[in-house]
């Protein structure tokens, strides 16, 4: 559930960034306004997401990928 929420926010950030690009492409004062507002949205969402991810990790809702290797070693399709 937490993962889904994180991915939804990432998609929202990408959409905000995309709107920013559309503003950049349009140009003029209207395009410039659109670009600036979209980028403010994307910065706000990104900071919020980072805080949420760190908080989720701290609470143990999600686990980091960094695992220390202690697995057995088996040599399969390789040659010595």
């Amino acid at each position: 559930m937490i993962e889904v929420l994180i991915i939804v926010v990432i998609i929202a950030i990408l959409i905000a960034l995309g709107f920013g690009l559309m503003g950049l492409l349009k140009g003029g004062s209207q395009g410039s306004d659109k670009m600036f507002k979209s980028l403010v949205t994307r910065v706000a969402l990104s900071v919020a997401l980072f805080i949420f991810v760190i908080f989720s990790g701290y609470m143990g809702w999600i686990q980091p990928n960094a695992v220390v290797f202690d697995a057995p070693t088996i040599q399969a399709p390789i040659q010595k």
């Binding site: 991915i7 990432i10 920013g20 492409l25 980072f50 695992v67 697995a71 040659q79």
Partner: protein, 295 residues
């Protein structure tokens, strides 16, 4: 900006051919360097120098033409279109790398371990287990059939350390850049310079810590030859780090141009292009941090 409606056609120029010679020399040198040819490195350096010379000369000329006011709205539109195609190629690049990470981690590595219909994996290699840290299942010093020696790391990168700090630094640089953007639109030149310097400093700090992290990872044996994890890790973070380096250089050029008074509150495409690029690089890192280190 010029009110002229006819398209601005530039005078004849040598820069494209100089650029072609520079890039060709760079790649000939690089290819030979990879094959261990003695002169490879020097030719590569020469090619790099010619390319940098071309960029200074050509882009400097474009800046001078822009400042002298000979560009009209058509040229402005062509710059914006050029930027959008460049961004399109960048998005495709990163989509391919993220796609590789997704495919390897979610599909091909589990299949090797017998997921889905590969029920014969245990029959073929009894006791073979796999996971995202599939590299752990290789004997240290073992050689692949291709003759490449695999490096087996003692541990993966710790998420809570430098990666989290670097994410914070890069996100903060996005915030400072937004303040610089706001100051530019409001016409406050001193504030723009302050916020831009802060952005460049944060970006440079990110690069410094990234080099430190590579040092740690390398010391622990995590290399490009460390199986699929090592390959995707260095490909994604390395390509991103290269983009941050380019971004820092571009922001420095923009800082110089702001000090020279090249931009106004309503005419600053150069700044907008670089700002958007930086936001893009920032978002890519956030994606990397979440997908490589967490999910």
């Amino acid at each position: 900006m010029s009110k002229e409606q006819a398209y601005y056609v530039p005078h004849g120029t040598y820069w494209p051919i100089i650029g072609s010679i520079g890039i060709a020399t760079l790649f000939v040198g690089f290819a030979n360097q990879m094959h261990g040819v003695e002169w490879g490195g020097s030719v590569m350096a020469l090619g790099f120098a010619i390319t940098v010379f071309m960029m200074f000369g050509w882009l400097g000329q474009v800046v001078n033409e822009s400042v002298s006011g000979i560009y009209n709205s058509q040229v402005d539109r062509s710059f914006r279109w050029g930027m959008s195609w460049f961004i399109f190629s960048e998005v495709m690049f990163f989509a391919a790398f993220f796609g590789a990470l997704f495919y390897a981690r979610q599909l091909s590595v589990p299949w090797l371990g017998g997921a889905d219909n590969n029920i014969y994996t245990p029959e073929l290699w009894n006791g073979f287990k796999t996971g995202w840290d599939a590299i752990a299942f290789t004997t240290p010093g073992a050689t692949l059939q291709s003759g490449v020696e695999m490096s087996v790391p003692t541990q993966l990168v710790n998420t809570w350390g430098l990666p989290a700090l670097n994410t914070l630094l890069l996100l903060l640089s996005g915030v400072t850049l937004t303040f610089a953007h706001h100051a530019l639109r409001a016409g406050h030149r001193h504030q723009i310079i302050g916020w831009l310097v802060a952005t460049i400093a944060l970006g440079s700090a990110f690069l410094g810590f990234q080099i430190m992290e590579y040092g740690h990872a390398y010391h622990d044996g995590l290399k490009l030859t460390s199986g699929i994890y090592g390959s995707t890790f260095y490909m994604l973070t390395g390509f991103h780090g290269f983009h941050v380096t380019v971004g820092v250089i571009m922001l420095t050029v923009i800082l110089y141009r702001i000090q020279k008074g090249h931009f106004t509150a309503d005419n600053h495409f150069g700044f907008e292009g670089v700002a958007w690029y930086w936001h893009f690089v920032d978002v890519v890192w956030l994606g990397l941090f979440i997908f490589v280190y967490w999910l």
